[in-house]
Symmetry: D2
Subunit: 289 residues, 4 copies
């Protein structure tokens, strides 16, 4: 009978198999004293929306993650569970598209206390964001757990998993890591591969050395940026109007449209917008890299 | 003094101005008996992450939306409040990137009962998804409130707001609308403009007629698809293993990794994955368009 | 010694090997009475411009193609030699990026009488153009020899080699083929593969049937478009001012800036630009698909 | 009458107007002693291929460029005529898509002695290439005449004309400029604008200073790269097998498939491909930036 696909197993059977495999993985992780357990992103999406019930798939995915968190607690595994966002490839669309999508998913299903994010910035660029975007966003929400410190090629539309060699990128990543007080028990993982044309054994060493050097330079740059505090001071200044008066009421959720309208009637319409000074910020960053 | 930008108003002042404007807008909407009130997407993001505190901005954005919802209730305006996702342009990144990002944001800030989404599919394609993706996702979560029925050009990276002329696209949109039982009080809005080279008055008429015809054909196609039910039946069959037995337990969240492992030990490893049959689904769709 | 890569063969040696292989391929093609011989696009580019001398590589590539054309004549093989443009993947950049790049390359090296193009439209979309663009461009220059009638997914940035299922696309391709009087000795080749999730034998049949049906519908649509001639008539009208008077002189290269300036002084500045009527053309096309 | 668009001027009339304008422009350029005359890229393409005869448009475009070159000679203007490639925006497709497309066009119409290229790297990235790609390609063909030294944002799909602030990019550009012995009479032009949020007067100064500093650092880096010669030496070594023996015969076009096959039969199949060493090159570049 065609509808079922002759001889094929029901999807729930395959789901159960995946659960059994991850159960074993968690047990092994506990035995080895693992500190992180990453749910790697690469399959949990659809190839065509025509054959897909997205809500059933999301519910079942959440069910899977809930069982994993429960089983982790039951066996006393203390490592961090991490989800790694990836927008596509090989699937057309993945449900863990980017950091904010995953955070929203975890909030929706009440799993945000049980999972953190493992960000791979080449997945971030595939999702249409800047290299450091998902690092910054997940850190802002207290969800940055670990980093796959690869890079992609901004002019290519697939995942090349190249060794990170751009100092500006590594500086931005390390700046965020320092700002959140480190990454422990996560870390920087090279989930990279040498390029197809790098065919000699020593390419393996040179690529790791070059990428580690890039992150070391990024760390030193970030440390100087934070120590000198010039950029941070200006950002703080930019938002300073929210630290007192009507601004603080806005941030604290203690005001209303009526009060804000009255504020404008009392104080007049704003006549001038403060500059965003993008080029100044870019020049300041260039001072450090 | 440079830090402040000579003569520029504090950001909180500008925030208050926006609040006063939207307050007035809500009052006018109530007076006119408006059924929808769209927060159009196009500015609420950053141009460079270097000068940006994303968490402060998201909190303040949520504060704004909370006050809008409160004021709506206070004055008895009964129209739907809608947020329109857009990933970028003119900003580099918008916080309401796509449907799932907005839904996650609303969940996080407890605003998901107060807002629905207004989806503009050319924003969806700019976010790297298929044309109908955000329509389907927001509908699955019960959040699809209205549609700006424009299209973009898949080979262009900016928002062209073209009139929708692709029958396959309009069929997919209307199929989702029919499946959720209609769109009321929302609707299909042409937020389109004729192309720069379409310089004659009659282009305005022809473009509206052509686009309305495209949606009319899409509606007729969708109605036949749903009435004949061939595609829906196969999708239902694909997920049927989750309607009973171990599959139902998965969907209902009533099982555990231990039970699923035992299921595999009792029933054996799956040997064969059912085909996704993408090409068959695509051929079926072609039968209708 | 590191500079040479211990034990690696000189590049010229590998070039010679490729030549020997293609020589054999041409001999086999002649023996089998082949009508087409495609130089498939996928490797002839660079992964990083840092290690690359682009001019040496282009010169050597041209040398290779010249020898192939010479050997073809020498052995009396009468099939068409074809180059298949592809912009990238797995390489970062390919020298045969798209149709116009290849045509320019062939002109530059005096090879344009010896080669035609084999267009694969999913490569065209990867190069940032519309689906039918390279088909139309190579046909306009009399260089369209054959077609790999695959499709990609417009929201994905790599080459999926999907079966073509979009009737508008197949209509545009067949319209161009009919307009140039057919494709012989080339043809429509399915260089496609079923999607990763299409795991059953019958998916192979259904995908070929669905794609052939799509091209059949495209052919019927194109035939009606050309027979009725409504679109062609309007395009001809659009350019009609170049068929006589000053316009014909422009097209024939028989005028000068002085004469054109005098024309404006005599006839006045233009006051009104004719509409491009994009939406009208799109609506006309929708009438046929 | 609809076919003509009531009251609209024939296209040839508008063509003549453009010719008269450029004629005047050339006269002014001569009077001012201009050294460069750039045909800026931004309109010479199509919005929809449905209403377009690409061959007529390309022929007329060539006719225009031929008349400009003739008139330049006639009036004794000695500045360089330059074409600036741009792939799209606001049009869907431009005929001067990228450097190789323009070079091919010039070759095809016999205009390659009369024009050089003005490369704007943010147009290059819009065309899907790496930042420095068109700089390198046009230089390799002796066609790099001047540079609009802007940048875009690699995650955005439109032309942002930002001030160049990436040292790696400016290093690569200046390396190419130095390698070709300078750019005179062209130069580095900032065709940039401050970002929409940079609203203060001093942003104008800071952005120019920051971008000039970026190119100054790039120049210093490039000078060291070329003086030390480590990278150049390795690239030369990579292609050294084409400088003598069978390799030289390949490059000189003095061999044939038969001779190359005999070479393989005599010397054996290659067993090992030399590594491309991308990560090593990237690490070497990082040493300088």
């Amino acid at each position: 009978r065609y509808m079922n696909g002759a001889g094929s197993n029901p999807d729930a059977h395959i789901f159960a198999m995946a659960a059994a495999q991850v159960k074993k993985g968690l047990e092994v992780a506990k035995k080895m004293g693992a500190q992180n357990f990453v749910f790697w992103g690469g399959r949990e999406g659809y190839h065509t929306i025509l054959n897909t019930n997205v809500l059933t798939e999301l519910n079942n995915l959440a069910s899977f993650f809930r069982m994993a968190a429960e089983y982790k607690k039951k066996i006393g595994f203390t490592g961090t569970l991490l989800i790694e966002p990836k927008p596509k490839e090989p699937s057309k669309h993945q449900y863990d598209y980017d950091a904010m999508t995953v955070i929203g998913f975890l909030k929706h299903y009440g799993l945000d206390k049980d999972y953190k994010l493992n960000i791979e910035p080449n997945h971030t660029t595939l999702a249409g964001h800047g290299y450091e975007h998902d690092i910054v966003m997940s850190s802002a929400f207290g969800m940055l757990g670990s980093i796959d410190s690869n890079t992609g090629s901004p002019d290519l539309g697939w995942d090349t998993d190249q060794f990170p060699m751009d100092i500006k990128n590594t500086t931005m990543v390390m700046k965020t890591v320092l700002e959140q007080g480190g990454l422990s028990p996560g870390g920087l993982n090279f989930d990279c591969k040498v390029r197809r044309e790098s065919t000699e054994l020593r390419d393996m060493f040179i690529s790791h050395i070059g990428a580690m050097d890039s992150f070391a330079r990024g760390l030193l740059n970030a440390e100087r940026i934070l120590k000198e505090g010039v950029i941070a001071k200006q950002v703080k200044e930019r938002y300073s109007s929210y630290e007192s008066g009507i601004g603080k009421k806005i941030t604290d959720g203690q005001t209303s449209f009526e009060e804000l309208e009255k504020y404008i009637l009392d104080n007049g319409s704003p006549t001038n917008v403060a500059s965003g000074r993008q080029e100044h910020y870019e020049s300041m960053l260039n001072h450090y890299v």
